[in-house]
Symmetry: D2
Subunit: 380 residues, 4 copies
């Protein structure tokens, strides 16, 4: 693991997610750019002293020198956005598979290079777009693909948070500080941090891509540099129209990702606050409540059931969704190592193409917001 030392939020999440199914074991780490923190963090995670590194370069180099059966299998990169690209490229160059926190890189250019590198090396790269790890998100995708709703007409995705309602970056909030600083976060604030999740969710479930957008991004808290709120009109490759909303100043909201999709015959609604439920609405019959892990057979896609650990009524949450991405990556990796063929369900985790589109989304949405033209053509 690179990054994720003490006080880092997402590093701890990655470790829980990776631990969950007993398929992955943390064996080494370069957990901070601060050597003291790196060492201290490594010790508190019970890492062997000789595998606590103080830089990612050292880790990748030394691990690659270890015997093949006693080195790390892959690298997880959980540093801030600006420090994703270099370790990822180096890891791939040394033959290590990679798991990377989103957004994949700092710029679209880096994302393209990384995508190319993954294709050249044939190694696996997994991008932790958590929300696509939820079983009922996968169920939604499967239902759209099977045509249950008919042609899709409308996509309505929203991601309201409230935690940046004050100018917290000036009040010692470390999480706020780097996320609102363009030199660390990139061109966009809320749109990069959470808008990319919303965009990914919309494209993942519909199986279509955004082709045009019209964005209104704003920094609504006085003194903030990057956008903390944005509303975007969407046109998609399947003809659907839509709206994407992402806000970090929706005071009182926690992390309320929600998506609604409407087709000719019905609609789907999924909200992360109750993630084990997929609401299925119909033109000509009562609304149905599909539940993760439910006992009724024939209703849930194999992509949903593969990603449940418990029977219905035992709520699984964010960590399990995160764990599903790790689990599928690990199963695909194991299959690769064993020379077997992973199932489509195992291979269903986000990769560099998703990362590339995430970076392109940021570029396009920022460009659109600055433009007086209504529609910006989404370019990759």
């Amino acid at each position: 693991m690179i990054g994720g030392g003490k006080d880092a939020f997402i590093g701890a999440i990655h470790r829980i997610a990776a631990n969950m199914d007993g398929l992955i074991e943390l064996c080494c780490g370069a957990l901070s750019i601060n050597p003291d923190v790196a060492i201290d963090s490594g010790k508190s995670l019970f890492l062997p002293e000789d595998r606590i590194y103080t830089s990612y370069e050292e880790m990748i180099k030394k691990e690659s020198e270890r015997p093949a059966n006693d080195r790390m299998d892959f690298v997880t990169i959980v540093t801030p956005n600006f420090a994703h690209f270099a370790p990822a490229m180096m890891a791939l160059d040394h033959g290590f598979h990679v798991v990377i926190e989103k957004p994949i890189t700092f710029s679209l250019e880096e994302a393209k290079l990384l995508h190319q590198k993954v294709q050249e090396t044939g190694l696996l790269l997994c991008l932790t777009h958590t929300y696509s790890g939820y079983p009922m998100v996968k169920q939604a995708r499967a239902m759209v693909k099977e045509g249950v709703l008919g042609k899709i007409r409308k996509v309505w995705v929203e991601y309201p948070q409230g935690w940046l309602s004050k100018l917290s970056e000036k009040e010692g909030n470390k999480q706020a500080a780097w996320r609102t600083d363009p030199t660390k976060s990139g061109k966009a604030g809320a749109m990069g941090d959470i808008g990319t999740h919303a965009s990914h969710l919309a494209e993942y479930i519909t199986g279509a891509e955004i082709t045009h957008l019209c964005a209104d991004l704003n920094a609504l808290v006085e003194g903030r540099i990057l956008d903390d709120d944005g509303n975007v009109l969407l046109r998609m490759s399947n003809g659907a129209r839509g709206v994407l909303m992402a806000s970090q100043v929706a005071a009182g909201e926690e992390n309320a990702v929600k998506i609604r999709i409407y087709g000719e015959k019905g609609g789907l609604e999924w909200a992360q606050h109750e993630p084990n439920t997929l609401i299925v609405k119909w033109l000509d019959q009562p609304t149905q409540i599909l539940r993760a892990g439910a006992g009724y057979t024939g209703w849930l896609s194999s992509f949903a059931t593969h990603n449940c650990r418990t029977p219905g009524g035992h709520p699984e949450g964010y960590l399990e969704a995160f764990g599903n991405i790790y689990r599928n990556f690990a199963l695909s990796l194991a299959a690769k190592i064993d020379g077997t063929t992973p199932t489509p369900e195992m291979l269903d985790f986000p990769g560099t193409y998703d990362g590339l589109r995430g970076m392109a989304f940021i570029e396009n949405v920022v460009a659109s917001s600055a433009s007086t033209e209504k529609w910006t053509t989404y370019t990759l």
Copy 2:
């Protein structure tokens, strides 16, 4: 009552709403442009035969010739959009107050003339924007006005319906037929029918006005002429950003008006599906559930309590909200007749200015949708 004969949806609703509180009695009617239907409908409503009229002209003329203490006090107009203006003008010219179903007229021009006429005559005109009749909508408005949320930053209003997901206007659905026909409905479809409700709700609660908008209207059902779906970016006079969504092809949705408003300190959420609840979200304390009719004192505004008929836990709904508009109109009218001063709570019903803005909303949103410019300045 003009219009509202057999088979008409909204006429029956008006009668229930007007009856509810025992303040209003139906005394005469010109209930259909078809004389047979008019007479038949009048009889089935127990109207005296000599006050069943076959045209609004006849009704207004004959009623105005009756003794002052035995004529109708006001006229309710529940005809399709294109037939609002003429009877309203004639009624006002003959000294009758008017209640009118929204949208107020067929065109902005008519709305302006009507607004002017009301101001000249000093008569009351009430526009039945139902959703502003709900007590918890009034509570939301009062809380915003009192500054409870601080400066408002974001408005998010949506109105999804699914009933026009098929080309029903070609399949004998009378309600669908006139609403999707530009010669009867006006320039806009969904935006006129329900988008105006959403726009009114946003402006009513925030006490601010839309100043700029960027609209994407579409006819998503093949063969339809007017918009059946639209997404609109908003900028408001209080600096808030927002989105307005109105759709009649959100398959499986009933009539799901919902609004969320976020300020510096917290947010409000109100949905018509559970209208007796106002969710109040806070930055620094747990979310609260405010309930119509609740026994706790000091939390509910006089505007909310004035519009409740029952204690908490006895759900009031759409008809009561509609009834509140009639009740406030009737109380204001009674005060006018009695020469007393109506309270601010009584006077809190929509009028011609709201109607004017509704028509302007349609004009502006249609213009914006046709434009390649991102922002259209909202003009009245």
Copy 3:
């Protein structure tokens, strides 16, 4: 109307419910035992002076002396429990139909006499057990009757309120005072006031009767005389087991009537807080949400659709449920007057047998609570 003067809660509710559909007009009243209040209340309701009476005896006598086509058609009795029986008997004796607020009488004995009188006279008596007026309660009853759930195994009905959590009867709360006073309310407190609603709901929906019960009633607020809380185990004539809970000291609850019924194949859940929804749970398929007024055909019983005034998504509430009871009574009465046959849907309103069972429920539950035997056989 007898009772229901100024400050009375339920009288105003009855008037709104009766007005709602334009089928019933208030023509006279003896609105209070206090003559001044009676007169004052009558005037404020625009009653003609000669039909404002100061006692029910006077009203019934004088009205029966008026010409047949100009007298009241029926009497509504909304006095406290102890003053139901005498006016009801007198009205029936004078040939007037009766609507009566529940519980039907003060004692089981009175209820039996009244039941007998109704059968002898052939007149209509309607008991306003409001909750059975909701369309989705009728839908539930229809589904059980059709056997959709298979044999019913379990009934779980609850009615928590919180408004008597303090000793309000000693603090000037008039509603609390008579309800907690055995000389006015009868043998039971919460069980009489709301437990009877719960019991009626359970029997109405299942179409079965309670045969045995085991009750634990308590006065949980110090100083209170009658029960303010009770839990009752049930055995029913269809073999189902169940629980009935009624409490007026469930602090923070409003009026949260809820019932769940489980059969071999599935379950139903209805809660008054969201009365337009019936949740249908299945063993072998996803839960469904049935909605009052919904556009899908073939799912809703004629008993449900007959009792809806608006399309799906226009919430109807407590007053409409109350109105449905009046409307069905009025339609049945009109049919009787016209010599036509009312439909089963019209005749579906509670009557003296329901009232009788309500009184018997009180007797049995109080007896059981006092007994050391586990099971008390329910006797009528």
Copy 4:
């Protein structure tokens, strides 16, 4: 781990829960009484071959012979109820701490002996009553303890499941087979399997104990031997009255544990289906929604925050609640090993006294159900 081989439900859950926080590592196992299954299961969990045992006796003996720093620290017992006692006693006798799936033993007698043994040895025994691992359950307990609700008056706990609505034990369902077989499950069916959870939850949150109960247990599915449904009236040591319901034939329900508690000043409601929410109802102010992991300070007890891994809006579920029990056990164990003092938050996991009460609950509830006396005094 003893038990929990292939096809076992709860064994896999224990492993995920134990893995989650990186504090516990599975080092050996006697995973099935079938040696082939035991070996096969061990291999698939990557256990070293010499630590895959085919009986718990072998495991405990051999592990205790290993060097102190290379043997298992504790034993997890996840066998069916009848096979809990013997391995637990043997483990304690050999100095191993124990984690045990509930119910703690097959009989009350065994539970007493085990409780005594734990007290004699001073070793830790953790009983996995999962629901008390949820942060918002701990919050509820803390609030009751602090007196926020005033004196507690009413407890209302329910646990409906529907999965035994058919005679599945005769249709090859292994989980159903042992749970409905008195020789494997004990005296009670649903009451043992899930009623004990409900009872534990009620006592854990209120900090009070059941003193009297009145039970109606039934086998509602024809052909079933043990109870599959039961309703129980409760009296508690704090004077509260209550009801406990547990059913496995509530067709269409998943695993819907829910508890409501009312005191003089307000009420609490927690439901496992939305476990991150605690609803707090008040007599004199709006209902509040307390959320696990929420950012507002001063509202959540240290017992709640200690048991959250993520910020508000990242739902944690059943596995995390299970994980909390393991985590607190592991932290307490680590403190014991390190010679430090565990915090009260760490020590907050169920133990033998809870297990003892669970067994006593079964005894008492079965005795009460068989009795014609209304109240059975709860004896330990």
